[in-house]
């Protein structure tokens, strides 16, 4: 096991290893706030902790906890979480060679996150891709779960989380996550339309449903088409 670790480290090289370590650490801190916020929102400690171990997908965990803590139905929360995680199908197709065959597919798939997929795709040769994918995946899994567990214990000590502003930290974390995607104009238009629909629906619908209704915003999503053909005639 130690020699495997050393080979991986040699394959990675120092700068990449440092970048990966920083990402893992940052995820641990986000996990800490996720755990504290979930418990502060009224959920029992096991909910955020179990989600982190068996689902292990930050954005969908935030979405799930946000909907349930707001009084929404767990069914709506599950549907929303699965929709957010549908991007993993595309990730899996992109990194199937990197993960490797046989039994490695099982743990390798569970460790799939935005971060380690991005690190793997950023390398040139397969050895480095593999090393980056596995080291980053395992590192994030360990840091994220430790962070969530610590945060959930911490959150259960704090009784009134609003005093510490934790209710504002939750949407701020999500906002920081989606901001880069909003640079794309088509996505931004769809997201803004979805936000308007969700806010308008909030006074009328049970908690959790307004977020799902936001998908109506996709009506305004236009994939850019090449315009040359129209110019010719």
């Amino acid at each position: 096991m130690r020699s495997i670790w050393r080979t991986l480290r040699e394959d990675l090289g120092k700068p990449l290893a440092r970048d990966i370590a920083l990402v893992c650490l940052a995820d641990g801190v986000v996990g800490l706030s996720y755990g504290a916020i979930s418990v502060g929102g009224g959920l029992q400690v096991w909910v955020p902790v179990l989600l982190s171990l068996v689902v292990f997908a930050g954005a969908s965990q935030f979405l799930f906890v946000g909907i349930v803590a707001a009084g929404g139905s767990p069914i709506a929360a599950t549907i929303a979480g699965l929709l957010v995680n549908s991007r993993h199908v595309a990730f899996g197709l992109a990194v199937s060679d990197v993960i490797g065959g046989g039994w490695k597919k099982l743990p390798g798939s569970h460790l799939m996150t935005d971060e380690n997929v991005a690190f793997a795709l950023g390398q040139d040769d397969l050895r480095r891709k593999r090393a980056a994918y596995w080291v980053c995946g395992i590192g994030i899994f360990v840091c994220w779960n430790l962070g969530v567990f610590a945060g959930a214990r911490l959150g259960s000590v704090i009784t009134d989380t609003d005093v510490f502003g934790l209710d504002a930290a939750f949407p701020a974390v999500l906002l920081a996550l989606v901001l880069p995607s909003l640079r794309d104009k088509a996505t931004r238009t769809a997201a803004l339309a979805g936000v308007v629909v969700a806010l308008a629906a909030t006074p009328l619908l049970p908690a959790g449903l307004p977020v799902l209704f936001a998908l109506v915003g996709l009506v305004f999503y236009r994939v850019q088409q090449p315009v040359e053909q129209e110019v010719v005639r």
Partner: protein
């Protein structure tokens, strides 16, 4: 609060579903590629859902409005994130703004 049994089932369904989505790619190992358009719509759908959650979590509480302190904190965090300030500071600044405003009596 929500029924714990139902909550547990929901968590497990989300777990099994997420794992299925993740392993679909490696199982369909052949050089099959998702149509580009479908891929784009899927990632846009994820952003739409998350943006809607940001808006509702920041601006609403129950069926009404959330007051001033919370949206103000989220706004401060959002501006810092936009300026590429490290994640940790975004979280701390958002929470501190909301907590500070409440301390001086802003709802």
């Amino acid at each position: 609060m929500t029924n714990p049994g139902l909550l547990l089932v929901a968590v497990l369904i989300l777990a099994v579903g997420t794992f299925s989505l993740r392993i679909a790619g490696p199982l369909l190992r052949t050089r099959f590629e998702l149509p580009e358009r479908a891929e784009k719509v899927m990632s846009a759908a994820a952003v739409v859902l998350l943006a809607a959650l940001v808006a509702t979590a920041a601006l609403t509480a129950g069926h009404g409005a959330a007051g001033i302190a919370r949206p103000a904190g989220v706004l401060v965090g959002g501006v810092l994130a936009w300026r590429n300030v490290p994640f940790v500071l975004v979280i701390v600044a958002a929470a501190a703004t909301a907590a500070g405003l409440r301390l001086i009596g802003v709802p």
